[in-house]
């Protein structure tokens, strides 16, 4: 229980500090800390595979996208520091936060959870793979197609048709 409280404090604390900081890069890095906290929570809950996948995807990849996005959209270092909160922004953020909270809360309350005594039968990676490949194969395929489309779209956007080899000659 103590471990859970420490993990929760770490996750929420880094997220809160990330929001209050004026330096975007610092905020992004603290957000990574928050994601690592979520991974720690998965580990605490016994979901080893999900925890490592969370680290691999969020700490390894999504963090890079966030950081690159910050660097590519700011023109100078001075631009990285956000201006203080205005009333409009405060109201907007409060509204969106409330909306997200409402949706999440509704989803958590609304989803039926199987009654299971804690500490029984941790799922092995093999079981997880079998479940994914049998019962949820449609979902896996759809996700795969969406990701492939996104990747090809990125290549199409980034590519230009100039023939560098011809220019060099």
């Amino acid at each position: 229980m103590i471990a859970l409280i420490v993990i929760a404090l770490l996750t929420l604390g880094t997220a809160a500090v990330a929001m209050s900081l004026r330096n975007l890069i610092h905020s992004a890095l603290l957000l990574v800390g928050s994601w690592a906290g979520i991974a720690a929570f998965y580990l605490w809950a016994g979901a080893e595979f999900v925890a490592f996948a969370q680290v691999l995807v969020y700490v390894g990849a999504v963090s890079m996208i966030v950081l690159f996005a910050v660097l590519l959209t700011r023109r100078s270092r001075a631009d990285l520091n956000l201006s203080p909160v205005s009333v409009r922004r405060l109201v907007g953020s409060a509204f969106s936060a409330a909306a997200v909270l409402g949706i999440l809360f509704g989803a958590v309350i609304g989803s039926p959870l199987p009654q299971q005594s804690p500490g029984t039968a941790t799922t092995t990676v093999k079981q997880l793979g079998t479940t994914l490949m049998n019962a949820h194969i449609a979902g896996v395929l759809i996700v795969g197609v969406i990701l492939t489309v996104a990747l090809i779209g990125a290549v199409v956007l980034a590519a230009n048709d100039r023939d560098y080899r011809k220019e060099q000659r």
Binding site: H26, F49, V55, G60, M64, V125, R165
Partner: protein, 408 residues
Amino acid sequence: MNASERFLETAPIALREWLTGRLPAPWHWFANSLITIALIIGLFATLFALLTLAERKVLGRVQNRPGPNRTGLPFLKFTEGKMFGLGQPLADGIKMLTKEDIVPRAADQVLHFLAPVALLAFSILTFAVIPYGRHIIPVELDAAVLYFFAAGAATELAIFMAGWASHNKYSLLAAMRALAQLISYELPLLLSMVPVIMLAGTLSTTGIVAAQGGFKFGIIAHWNVFTPWGFAAFVIFMISALAESNRSPFDLPEAESELIAGHLTEYSGFKYALFFMAEYFGMCALSGMAVTLFLGGWQPLVPFLDFIPSYVWFTAKLLTLLVSFIWIRATFPRLRIDQLTRLAWKFLVPLALVNLGTAAFWALTGNLPGLLQISRWVGAIALVVIPFLLIGRRLTRGVAPRTYRFAD
């Protein structure tokens, strides 16, 4: 006697148990973990020190010069000039420790400090899941391979921190280049080890090593590298490992001679040493993973050498790979950034994907009787060689063979 119960096999574990056995039960686990951590850090730090010396000696030999050979051990005057420069790592360490630690005034002080620390911490984490011997594995995890790469992925963050916190445009640009390289080569690295997991049916490193046990015809070990798909995957893995650990010929991120050491420009003294330590640790960890995935882990090469303890086998394989890393550094010139990314995306990634199919073919034809096994081998080898030739030809069309205008 059973091989797994021989005295030398169980000796390290027995020694640890003897040391911690007298502690009360709740402390037992804690003390065991502490000893393991201390051993990992101590052993690999020593290996790092010796590797720097070995690297300079081997590079020297390849370039027809002796390398460092004067430094003796401290307080032992007579060892000077005799001990093959064995005191050199110690001298380097003391020099690094006593150098002034310069932090640029405009730098982001916290991140500038945190970057080398984070990098080293994450690279040490990767050592936890490598099975060093039959009974020696620090942490037994069901998803060990995933853990290994999750811990390795965080090093990218540290490199970004180093480049950004230095407040230096060269550092930032070089960090971006380094990130582009690391992200590009992570893909073939991960893809090349997928067949191993596919055929072993497990993500646990112990299980993968166990799957490579036994001998064919009583002499050929069941290592993955001795199969067509395994050999291709091993080569792709090693090339990607070279790039992931910033080793020559993929050492563009630092490229001392051209890019003023890249994201390390604003680092000096011990922080700089920490970066290098992390680089060597990463190299050791990736080599250890390569040994585990493809070279049979701690399994012996031939049955009659079974009496050699498993951890000695592991160490021998690890050192072989590390020396080959140094050898490659001495042999190949550095790639350009466009050549580097092209190699990853247009060559290694397609080959790794094709290799997945080869591994599937191999797995599906495992039960073929008698002479049909030959067709299995021929088919698998063809699946490896033909795509290699086709993609290689296509990529080098109009470029190779290179014509030299100024040099003969």
